[in-house]
Amino acid sequence: MQLPLAIERLAALMGKLPGVGDRTAQRLALHVLGQPSEYAQALAQALAELHGAVRFCSRCHHLSTAALCGICANPHRDGRLLCVVEDVPDLLAIERSGEFGGLYHVLHGVLSPLRGVGPRDLTLEDLVRRVDEEAPEEVILATSVSVEGEATASYIQTLLRGRSVRLSRIASGVPQGTDLEYLDQGTLGRAMRARQPLERG
């Protein structure tokens, strides 16, 4: 059965969202129609203002409403620590952990010759400039533990060679609350190699 064009159009646009198939898109469109019209108005307004209201932080490239993002503008963050992440969701994940009080630098991707992503496609020049200008004590490379993530971390290592800043890489290994027997061999192997010495009681 054909639906009015207005619904079909909304469903087609919804269907472009990640994880949304044709049928879900239609269900979402009909659901919006079923709500009071104020909801549709508010949704439309939120969408319309999205691009105008959000920009990248001029310092760390996190999403922001002002020139500086909330983290960079916060005077209580520790400027001696700089954590490099691939993307915004990675930053949010580290924030949720509550373990990190320093500043971030978002690369917006990883180096990948196979997908044609080179150094100029990432925010690497700004990273080097920040290290020179802000002189953090430590740069933590928190790119993912994959071939691309390792390559990106190594590339940054070369870029920062000769500078006095301390470089570190986040650890990888056994997740909290996991039985060893269920771990894949790659993870377990890495965890064995990166084992930590214990103090003698």
């Binding site: 180096l111 010759p113 080179g118 691309e148 190594s154 070369t158 061999q185 790659g186 192997g189």
Partner: protein, 391 residues
């Protein structure tokens, strides 16, 4: 371990098949083109999720059918597991005891087979990549982590090659190559180290088996030959890195990585000389036979029980003496064997057996022949063999 039941549907030319093979020896006779090799292929797909004939599993789906299914009931140390793989051109689904499993890691390693096909006999004279694949399989049998390390190495390698190719279009950032040199050396050293480690155990086994098969005094050896280094250096990260840097100009001109573990070779040596140049056809066949038997023995040691053997018409390629050596080994192994042949006269084993005849994709109980004369070995007798204390 042995296969208690095989089910195949829409697999190449095979009729929908439900078969209870013998727990020791299964002989599949039939003329060429009837489907004997397809049956072995189905078993090897059920074991390793890969075919020895095609890179695309979709090719094994019968023409006109939408999907193919292979299911085996595996008995391993008295524990029964149902394995099933269902595949079509677009992908595959795996089942363990009737439940879908998402990753191949959960599925692989349960049914372990050793495959012996006529093309294996070209190993000493063939292309290096064939020998590398053979070596990596032996290494994988010892240490399953090898597969993962090999995949990571290949990922770094294709990335570096992509960079080298990009350079032909527009100059690339040399620091990017620096990074991939370091990663390739790191992952390459792991791959080469593991190959060398396993060869240290495996080579004496091959030497010993060969000495039993060959005329007295003739000795065989295996040598890992890295392209451009001494064999021990191949696993040294610093040496690999230096070599990668040294060959950069050449690699940039070629557009690919000219040296590294992906180009290393496994050399077969006979009486101190490279087999590919000096071995007679008979000698190199004995060598391959020794390799296969050593592979089976090393797997048996690793698993604690013999693997399942799949042999595709190999006997017709071997002379009387080597055939007897192979059959003796099969008898001594005591595991499950599937053997195809066009000429049953080649096959002389003492193991209890079932003979099936493959005609136009359908299995029929075969004729009686061979030693022992215990009468027909159709399905009824097979049941007796299982229950009747032939162990």
């Amino acid at each position: 371990m042995h296969i208690g039941r095989l089910y195949a549907e829409a697999f190449r030319n095979l009729d929908t098949l439900e078969w209870r093979p013998h727990r020791h020896f299964n002989l599949i006779t039939g003329d060429n083109g009837q489907g004997k090799t397809n049956l072995l292929e189905a078993l090897s797909v059920a074991a390793g999720l890969r075919s020895f004939r095609t890179a695309k599993l979709g090719d094994c789906v019968r023409f006109g059918a939408d999907k193919a299914t292979v299911a085996v009931q595996l008995e391993r140390q008295a524990v029964r597991v149902d394995l099933a793989v269902q595949f079509r051109a677009s992908g595959r689904r795996l089942f363990l005891d009737g439940r879908a499993v998402s990753g191949a890691a959960d599925y692989l390693g349960r049914l372990v087979v050793v495959l012996f096909v006529p093309s294996d006999l070209h190993l000493p004279h063939g292309e290096p990549d064939q020998r590398r694949r053979y070596l990596d399989r032996v290494v994988f049998n010892h240490d399953a982590a090898h597969l993962l390390d090999l995949r990571q190495y290949e990922r770094v390698l294709t990335s570096r090659n992509a960079l080298l190719k990009q350079h032909k279009v527009a100059p690339i950032d040399p620091q990017m190559l620096d990074v991939y040199d370091v990663l390739l050396a790191r992952h390459g050293a792991v791959v080469a180290r593991r190959r060398l480690d396993v060869l240290r155990h495996f080579t004496p086994q091959v030497r010993e088996v060969f000495a039993r098969l060959a005329p007295a005094g003739l000795e065989a050896d295996l040598r890992y030959v890295p392209k451009g280094f001494a064999s021990e250096e191949a696993a040294d990260e610093a040496t690999l890195l230096l070599a990668l840097r040294g060959q950069r100009t050449r690699d940039l001109a070629l557009g690919y990585t000219s040296r590294g573990p992906h180009r290393d070779d496994l050399e077969f040596v006979l009486a101190g000389r490279p087999a590919h140049a000096h071995a007679s056809q008979g000698q190199s066949r004995t060598l391959v036979l020794a390799l296969k038997i050593a592979e089976i023995q090393s797997l048996e040691a690793a698993l604690g029980e013999p693997p399942v053997l799949l042999m595709d018409d190999v006997s017709s390629e071997l002379d009387e003496h080597r055939n007897r050596a192979l059959m003796t080994c099969i008898d001594a192994l005591g595991g499950q064997v599937f053997l195809t042949t066009t000429d049953a006269a080649h096959i002389r084993v003492a193991a209890p057996r079932q003979i099936m005849d493959m005609r136009a994709g359908a299995l029929h109980p075969g004729p009686t022949f061979g030693r022992g004369g215990q009468g027909s070995t159709g399905p009824e007798n097979e049941l007796q063999d299982i229950t009747g204390g032939s162990e």
